[in-house]
């Protein structure tokens, strides 16, 4: 039996000594490694990942995937062709968000396809950027597209430009450029904020065919009003799949569709359960609550 200050450790003494230590330890014990309030999010993430990988594998094995026609993307090649015939440039803006936004990355993915087409047709391309990190990424994407098209010499370092680090300064610079150079086709794909209408209306005044897409619902009406074609929300993310037809993109579209079905069923079930006062409605609602 251990000794403490000359006294023997009896079970009672042990408890007297340990109780405050235990209480302090309880108070200072760090939270666990897993937030159990987020089990629902983890389950959805795992199911989504599994669906994504399964559908990509299935698409890679050659299973055909139907994508409904997206007129905005059908018009891309025509738009570049128009610019070529008119001897005018194509303007592509990968949004005004930084590179940590999924919309910017979706825009950059489409930029690669469009740069490939402009390289094939020898059409001038202009890519203004608001932030330096999308600038670096866009530069790499366009350079690689020109190399892949077998025309690395046609790539010019001033094709991808940094315009301004502030939204309205950027709009002023791009609008001025649009009015001077009169691009035949403007493509706005990515995250846009208040500058969306400034850009789209100026492009309209300059006589360009305009294709726009963003996931921000508050900017979509402006693009719909001012542009010829608009990709709504998820269509922006589908653009890359639509243009490339690669299995990894087609598979992920199927996974998104599966989840849309799951969420639609869940919303309808929840709405009906709450409407008819089902006893399990609160539990069901809890499954989808964020914490």
């Amino acid at each position: 039996m251990p000794r403490f200050g000359g006294a023997r450790w009896t079970p009672v003494a042990w408890l007297v000594w340990a109780a405050p230590v235990w209480a302090q330890a309880e108070a200072t014990t760090p939270p666990g490694w897993f937030n159990t309030d987020r089990v629902n999010a983890l389950v959805l993430l795992v199911v989504f990942c599994a669906a994504l990988l399964l559908y990509i594998r299935s698409a890679a094995r050659g299973k055909s995937t139907y994508i409904r026609p997206l007129p905005g993307l059908e018009a891309v090649e025509d738009g570049v062709g128009r610019a070529t015939e008119m001897g005018r440039p194509v303007l592509f803006i990968p949004g005004t968000g930084d590179v940590d936004m999924a919309e910017t990355l979706a825009g950059l993915a489409v930029l690669g396809r469009i740069a490939g087409i402009t390289a094939r047709y020898d059409t001038p391309l202009m890519v203004p950027c608001l932030y330096p990190m999308p600038l670096a990424a866009a530069d790499e994407v366009v350079r690689q597209a020109y190399t892949d098209a077998g025309k690395p010499e046609a790539f010019k370092s001033d094709m991808v430009r940094y315009m301004a680090g502030e939204s309205f300064g950027f709009s002023a610079a791009v609008n001025g450029w649009m009015m001077r150079e009169r691009p035949a086709t403007n493509i706005f794909l990515g995250e846009f904020t208040a500058e969306s209408l400034l850009l789209a209306e100026t492009g309209n005044a300059a006589g360009a065919i305009q294709i726009a897409g963003t996931a921000r619902p508050e900017q979509l009406p402006f693009f719909i009003a001012a542009c010829d074609y608009t990709l709504l929300g998820e269509e922006l993310y589908a653009a890359s799949a639509y243009l490339s037809k690669e299995p990894k993109y087609l598979g992920s579209l199927k996974a998104q569709d599966l989840f849309k079905v799951i969420l639609t069923v869940a919303i309808l079930t929840g709405a009906l359960a709450v409407t008819f006062g089902a006893s399990w409605a609160p539990v069901f609602q809890g499954w989808f609550e964020a914490s």
Binding site: N35, A215, E234
Partner: protein, 206 residues
């Protein structure tokens, strides 16, 4: 950006941020906070890329005496003055940097923003031309919502504000939520493809 290293960095960083979402452990929270600080630091350094790009393009424009080259001179002088002012004197109130920001840059930004009012009017005019059934429905809905938001709307018909509120709260919100859910799934799929190394176009690879 060649080789497996960028993909490995994207995978590890992405997986760590996913783990940090599910773990409340202080060690994980601290590490994820550090990660986000690194993002800010890298972003700060990347501004240099932007400055180099803008300086190169405008210097070339001046050298070749391209169309409207004097504007490029104005830009380069402004860039140099703001940079020198900020570095030598700081950005506090009363400095050259602050004076230029408050008296030149801010009014110019405000001017650009105010132009939105005119652009909204011209875009709305085109969108509301009742050429098709959809455009006519849009026009009718817009008239109800606009009139419902102003006192004269209530004077015309008492129920107009309630009708406008219902349009905004029910059909409009339902459609917006539909778009948001679709976009969120698209964003999640894009993020997962990047983390898993399936999406490489942002690195210039197919």
């Amino acid at each position: 950006m060649r080789g497996p290293l960028p993909l490995a960095v994207a995978f590890l960083a992405g997986m760590f941020m996913i783990v940090s979402f599910f773990s409340p452990h202080p060690a994980v929270e601290k590490a994820s906070g550090d990660f986000l600080n690194w993002v800010s630091i890298v972003s700060g350094f990347s501004i240099l890329l932007g400055v180099v790009s803008i300086a190169q393009n405008n210097l070339a424009k001046v050298k070749r005496r391209q169309k409207e080259w004097p504007y490029a001179v104005v830009l380069l002088v402004a860039l140099a003055v703001m940079l020198a002012g900020g570095v030598l004197e700081g950005t506090d109130s009363g400095t050259v940097y602050d004076a230029l920001f408050q008296n030149v840059q801010a009014p110019m930004m405000t001017t650009m923003f105010s132009m939105l009012a005119f652009f909204i009017a011209s875009a709305a005019y085109r969108a509301f031309r009742a050429r098709t059934l959809q455009a006519t429905l849009l026009l009718g809905t817009a008239v109800i919502v606009m009139l419902g938001r102003i006192p004269v709307g209530q004077a015309i018909y008492d129920g107009l504000p309630d009708l406008a509120n219902w349009i905004m709260a029910v059909p409009n919100t339902a459609v917006q939520r539909g778009i948001i859910i679709g976009a969120a799934l698209g964003g999640a799929a894009t993020a997962l493809r990047i983390v898993l190394g399936l999406e490489r176009t942002y690195m210039g690879r197919g």
